[in-house]
Symmetry: C2
Subunit: 553 residues, 2 copies
């Protein structure tokens, strides 16, 4: 696959948007006009001379530096499309071993260089975006450390190079009959080391767990030496070092080899889509299923707005009309919600699970029928394709972004409504309407994640479009930070979420993270600005929200 | 219940040891002679004058100080039985609210006092044993903070005072139809705050998880202020502060209110005991069940030595003979192992689980029959009574202790054999034989815990007995520390395990924990000597084992 230099994924793949889908979006946000893209050549021409001293592992060619300058956040997108990158790394290294990573860290200390670890470059929160710095910046691309180094079948532990991307994780394991089962939407590109460093969660977390449940140990190279975390199934011996390194986003060190808990490939896996009469019945059904511990591999509930948008964006108009007629016939009208779920396991257990699931869904008025299978299978085939949508709508002047959080069940409705309404009204002063819709996914007995997609109209120019996004992001993030929720359930903090982190961690929690970072990296050389706001932090967002969860004595 | 001042649990309960059980122990360790117990009065007479300045919440009466001076580790036991306590706390406080805890911490700073948090006093690793100190020592007993403060049924989160012991946790929840499901063997006395501070695991962790999976958030009072951890189902926003505080064993602060994830009481719960032909078949069966994710609430495999000992210690001789004859008839001879397991859930799911379990056990030669139910029910009725055994054997000059660890499946046999043989041979230079046996419990896809019980003969006097224990503990702990395992799967570090912690955490991991402790408690006022070896540390054990898992650059 040839990777898009200025957008998502495979250059040759295009996700079509059906006309009635585009009409639906325009019915909310109005007519749009596309902005002009910059060319790769014009961006390469801007790349300044590298400030890095020579090293055999360090490449300073312009294209490498352009291709490692940005992730996939909306500001990253605007930078790539406008060609206004601002800052480029001074060079890119492609280490192949832990000892080369060590060598590069030693080089960084010796020559006073900052280091940004780079996995798949899929961050949607600005993790790998360099900020202006008096020190030269080296981006360390771990993509050549992509091998299954060991598979212990008895203990079901696999050792991977940290830069192994999703498809190479699965293909190497499946050749031996195993799976990791970690499928974030970014799976085609994101890497196992990145998943760990930013605490990722995959679509089938209900069976396989979050990356926290998979990460068993491994090696992190820090500026103070190598941290080897042994694999132990569980321990009561003090604070968990694994849990301290997960989510450290390159601030404490760089993962080079990681050991993950794997499973035998399941005998059977099935996905289904069922429609529920309304929001309350849909939400209650999934809550009951997860709180009753019915073995399943995923559940997702699209609210009425998302159900409508997905059916418009994912089907031909004629198909949609047929489905709509059928559902109305069954009594499901405009309030209907869409429940996607999966079972993964032995045929015997899946059958037992499906019996329990059907009983619960029936109780709450679910309508599935023969369509449930077909639509489930469509979902599973398109599950990694959503990010390509931005490419298609962008060409029509429609900007799209998503945001996500997690909260307890008793707060789900309030928070979801607050987020959607914050987005819908954020641009009212500009007379702009925003289209927002939401699904719940990643179900826990305590609560779930809330994932909201929003479309808005590009402004006349890039700066205006960025300004619109800033308003949207800040308003929604403030609602989250003040709303008993996490600033990110599955995408990490990066630079975009750093101003809102204190509301979750508290003054003392922030202090604990900062204390560790300062001890391991006293000169602030590793991924500055990410996770913790540093003085140099680029002004990505407006006023930070400070936490109220804490009282200092 | 009146609590024993110098041993385990309820003063009125006596666990009988059948004669053929005692014979079995003596057949290994030889004839024994009991040591003389000290009286409470004689110990109270030793208590020195308190060095604490007056405070309305601080009690300095001798009996309070005696009853809070020791936990339940073997050295604690010897101290309580010999009356040689060494150090007593200078006073005990019984705060009833978070703000009283804060007030006491302020008092500690103002008057240069050390503070030991005390939950149920059930530590088996020296967590709450005060060490000699120039500063006065205040033990803070949280036992009056024992109320269910809130139950959110929708999000299934309960808020408890940190000092709530197991029975009060469950009775308050069950009155509302809920359970926490955390049942460590110490359940009758240990507290929810203690479980969190020392990363406890309960017997039904296979269904309910370890305390790490239950702890959702709460309040810790530190010397730098209050740390309020919000409840969020899951977060990718940076290192997990919950996981940093769990296992901090009083070094970072004192939990006052804790929020835990609870479940509806299950429709049905059943326990079974099945016999397996040998170790390999038993171990493989449980590994297959857990790796295939069959929903169960517990599994425990006693090796042949433990199966034999348990049947001798837990049944009358006539019962044992009948059972033995039946099992031999079924082809299970001396190599037979005992598998105890439970299912908890809906009747429908339990039935499905039992079908899968029976298939697996049959494949591996398991023998259950009508006895499986009866013996399972006996296990569940006696599940919290094992700790009382020490009282009974002690009166006959037989010392007993246990130790536990966890490791990956591929290392289980090696480590179990090494631990047993380390114990069996540790006293050879004294011409003493030791009886050791083991079970596996707390099954994970990656591995399991290994729990070994050992009996040895009391020496002529207390000092000699302590010396024997030191040798045993050090030898087994060294085997664990060098054996790809944790120094504790479920009992924490305390003072007894602190010398062995570096092998698991590494130089950098230890540094991270120490950095946090120094930042939050720069004067080392909170529970010194626990978790981290401090300079003042009493010389409980011999030479510490330093880690090899780490290389310093």
């Amino acid at each position: 696959m040839a990777r898009r230099w200025n957008g998502w994924g495979d250059d040759s793949y295009i996700k079509e948007v059906p006309e009635h889908g585009e009409r639906l979006i325009r019915s909310v946000i109005g007519e749009t006009k596309a902005l002009k893209d910059a060319s790769l050549e014009s961006v390469m021409a801007q790349v300044p001379e590298s400030r890095l001293p020579q090293h055999p592992l360090v490449v300073t060619a312009a294209e490498d530096r352009v291709r490692h300058a940005r992730g996939q956040s909306f500001p990253d997108w605007l930078a790539m499309r406008s060609g206004k990158f601002g800052v480029f790394p001074d060079g890119v290294a492609y280490p192949e071993t832990s000892s080369q990573v060590r060598e590069l860290l030693d080089y960084a200390v010796k020559h006073d260089v900052n280091v940004i670890p780079y996995g798949g470059g899929t961050s949607v929160a600005g993790h790998i975006t360099p900020q202006a710095s008096a020190r030269p910046i080296l981006t360390m691309d771990l993509g050549r450390m992509n091998q299954l180094m060991d598979l212990n079948e008895e203990s079901q532990i696999a050792t991977f190079g940290a830069g192994t991307p999703g498809p190479l994780v699965e293909s190497q394991l499946r050749a031996r009959g195993y799976t990791l089962g970690h499928f974030p939407q970014s799976w085609e590109l994101s890497t196992v080391g990145g998943w760990i460093a930013s605490r990722s969660s995959g679509q089938q977390s209900l069976r396989y767990g979050r990356i926290e449940q998979m990460f068993a140990g491994g090696r992190m190279e820090t500026l103070q030496g190598t941290l080897d975390i042994p694999t132990i199934p569980a321990s009561s011996a003090g604070p968990d070092i694994r849990e301290v390194t997960m989510g450290s986003e390159g601030r404490f060190g760089i993962f080079t080899e990681v050991k993950v808990r794997v499973s035998r490939v399941a005998e059977e896996e099935k996905f289904f889509v069922v429609f529920m009469p309304d929001w309350e019945s849909a939400k209650t059904a999934v809550r009951e299923l997860v709180q009753n511990r019915v073995p399943m591999s995923m559940m997702r509930v699209s609210n009425a707005k998302e159900a409508r948008a997905h059916l418009h964006l994912g089907t031909k108009e004629s198909q949609f009309k047929l489905l709509d007629r059928y559902l109305r016939l069954m009594g499901l009208k405009d309030e209907r919600c869409m429940l996607t779920f999966g079972v993964t396991g032995s045929k015997f257990q899946n059958k037992a699970s499906l019996k329990q699931i059907r009983k619960t869904l029936k109780k709450h008025g679910g309508v599935g029928g023969p369509l449930a299978n077909i639509m489930g299978s469509i979902w599973s085939h398109g599950r990694f394709k959503f990010p390509y949508l931005r490419e298609t709508t962008w060409a029509r002047g429609i900007a799209v972004d998503t945001l996500e959080t997690a909260t307890d069940w008793d707060n789900v409705d309030q928070l979801m409504n607050d987020i959607e309404s914050a987005l819908e009204t954020a641009l009212r002063s500009d007379n702009e309407d925003v289209m927002a819709f939401t699904h719940l996914s990643h179900m826990y007995s305590q609560g779930c994640s809330i994932y909201t997609t929003y479309f808005f109209r590009c402004a006349e120019d890039y700066d205006g479009t960025m300004e619109r996004w800033r308003k949207l992001k800040h308003k929604a993030s403030s609602v989250i930070a003040c709303g008993r929720a996490t600033i990110s359930h599955q995408h990490g903090v990066g630079k975009d979420h750093a101003p809102y982190l204190m509301a979750e961690k508290g003054v003392l929690g922030m202090r604990m993270i900062k204390t560790l970072a300062d001890d391991l990296d006293p000169q602030g050389r590793l991924n500055p600005g990410t996770l913790l706001e540093d003085s140099q932090q680029a002004d990505v967002l407006a006023t930070p929200v400070k936490g109220k969860a804490e009282t200092q004595h």
